[in-house]
Symmetry: C2
Subunit: 320 residues, 2 copies
């Protein structure tokens, strides 16, 4: 089958073997996939991943032990836990020590004609949610998951500042707005910030971010840069919360003394709940389609990846 395979460098492969389906797994024909910054980092060597790229997708189940899934349009939790460890038994397996992660860790991804995922990871997509929205379920779930990092009542104590107007920063802004929060997005691109503003967020160009933006209870760091981290620590009020959303491979230089002096909380936040994201999309409370920058057919997935790597590009989609 056709697939975008990372093997040192990402290459479009025309005769990649169809994935084998194990019991308890569903074979999914990909309808639409998205390119994430993590894909770009993986292509640069992050995690040492080898295999088919892509972990944002909506598809159709073509083969499955449970006949009720067959023919259904689905998205999937990309974390495929063992199903038996403490994390899988009591939580969602997102921290299962032997998990595979679609397109990231030990499991082929979605920039291909098809992929296999465990049945238990599947989430059905209601008819009212078109592919172009459903394909955002994975990053939107990660965005909504920011809420889980906040102590109860935090939202009422001031605006949440989101640093970064990239794909993830904007989705976080939309998700927090959907939760009724007051949000300020600090970014570098007026046309991207306009997407957050349309959802009711206050927006500021980084170059103009004024001094009065200080002493806030929550900052979400979605730039993945040293500068963003330092800025975030400087914006928080004592005992405030910094939510770290962006994995950056390799060391950063950072002065952590404000964390001690102001007794800040820094909380890492990764993947979220896919069903919650689909619900937000189904209820029309988040519309991610303004983020779509370009669509490519799978046969040009390599170009799609290159386009996504172009500075300033928002979401690039790949049609299965």
């Amino acid at each position: 089958m056709l697939a975008l395979v990372l093997d040192g460098v990402p290459r479009l492969v025309h005769d990649h073997p169809r994935p084998a389906r194990a019991p308890g797994e569903a074979r999914v024909r990909v309808r639409l996939a998205g390119v994430c910054d993590t894909d770009l980092q993986l292509a640069r060597g992050y995690m040492g991943y080898r295999g088919v790229l892509g972990h944002e997708f909506v598809g159709e189940v073509t083969e499955c032990d449970d006949p009720r899934w067959r023919g259904r349009r689905v998205v999937a939790d990309i974390n495929a836990g063992c199903g038996f460890c403490a994390d899988c038994a009591t939580r969602n397996g997102h921290h299962c020590p032997t998990r595979t992660v679609v397109g990231i860790l030990g499991r082929d991804g979605a920039l291909a004609e098809e992929l296999v995922v465990p049945d238990r990871c599947l989430v059905a997509v209601p008819d009212g949610v078109p592919d172009e929205r459903a394909v955002f379920a994975e990053p939107l779930a990660a965005a909504v998951h920011v809420l889980d990092a906040l102590a109860p009542g935090t939202a009422s104590e001031g605006p949440v500042v989101v640093l970064g107007d990239g794909k993830l920063g904007l989705l976080i802004a939309l998700a927090l707005r959907a939760a009724g929060m007051s949000v300020v997005v600090v970014g570098r691109h007026a046309h991207k910030l306009a997407i957050a503003r349309a959802a009711g967020a206050e927006v500021l160009l980084e170059s103009e971010a004024p001094g009065e933006l200080k002493g806030v209870p929550v900052v979400v760091e979605a730039t993945g840069s040293e500068g963003g981290l330092a800025r975030a620590l400087g914006l928080l009020r004592p005992r405030g919360t910094l939510v770290l959303k962006t994995t950056v491979a390799g060391p950063l230089s950072v002065d952590l003394s404000p964390v001690v002096i102001h007794e800040l909380r820094v909380v890492g936040s990764r993947c979220g709940n896919m069903a919650r994201a689909i619900e937000l999309l189904a209820e029309g409370r988040v519309d991610p389609t303004p983020l779509v920058a370009a669509r490519y057919p799978l046969a040009r997935a390599d170009e799609a990846l290159a386009r996504a790597a172009t500075k300033g590009t928002l979401k690039v989609l790949v049609e299965g």
Copy 2:
């Protein structure tokens, strides 16, 4: 009066002016003071502090508006808040934006014949607590404050690992043991680790820290080093808590991707509750005296500071 004054470099000054006492402040004759690593950092330029050094002390009130304090043996919260802001009104003023901090920020310290502190910062020392124990109230309060950074129930989920067998690391180990917690201290000096072991902690030499020490729920970083921070992040289980106890001036190089991938919480922790520390000392639940390495008279406070800066030295006390 005699005082150890930091003015670019620390100097013993014989004719330093006696501090002026404002209404609501108490004049305290210092009986015994301690040297802290923060004093050494201040002497190297941290915070740009100028003034009398020293923030660990026990003394006797000689002058005070409220006659009930006169003649009493006291310790004091070193954070002198304005008394009126939100932090002072609803908490302890430790994050009051206009606070002074004894011997650290805008207020002369305790390595002197006397100092002044607000009445509201005073905590009486019961007769049963000798000076040599009471002088540890400030760092012990900071050590016990680690407990406030932990989510409820954390203690039952595994041992708390303390990185560092310096003064603060050991006091944290003693405080956590007094709270009934299972504690593992990782350090570099057998004779220091012996102090933690005597209080019931498990101890490990850093060079021998074995692989099975992994996946723990809580790590307290008290080395203040890049290596300690990296080690701490590597020891934690997913969703674990890293308590940062040591302020390090200037940037560190650190890979924060484990914070995101494993959704860790990093919580800064600074000063604690002095009354709680005095209570622990009065009840005999913590005995810090094994940490005393040397005592100097105030007239040799400069030597005391130099001795404290000698690698491997535990607590150096200065007699008023």
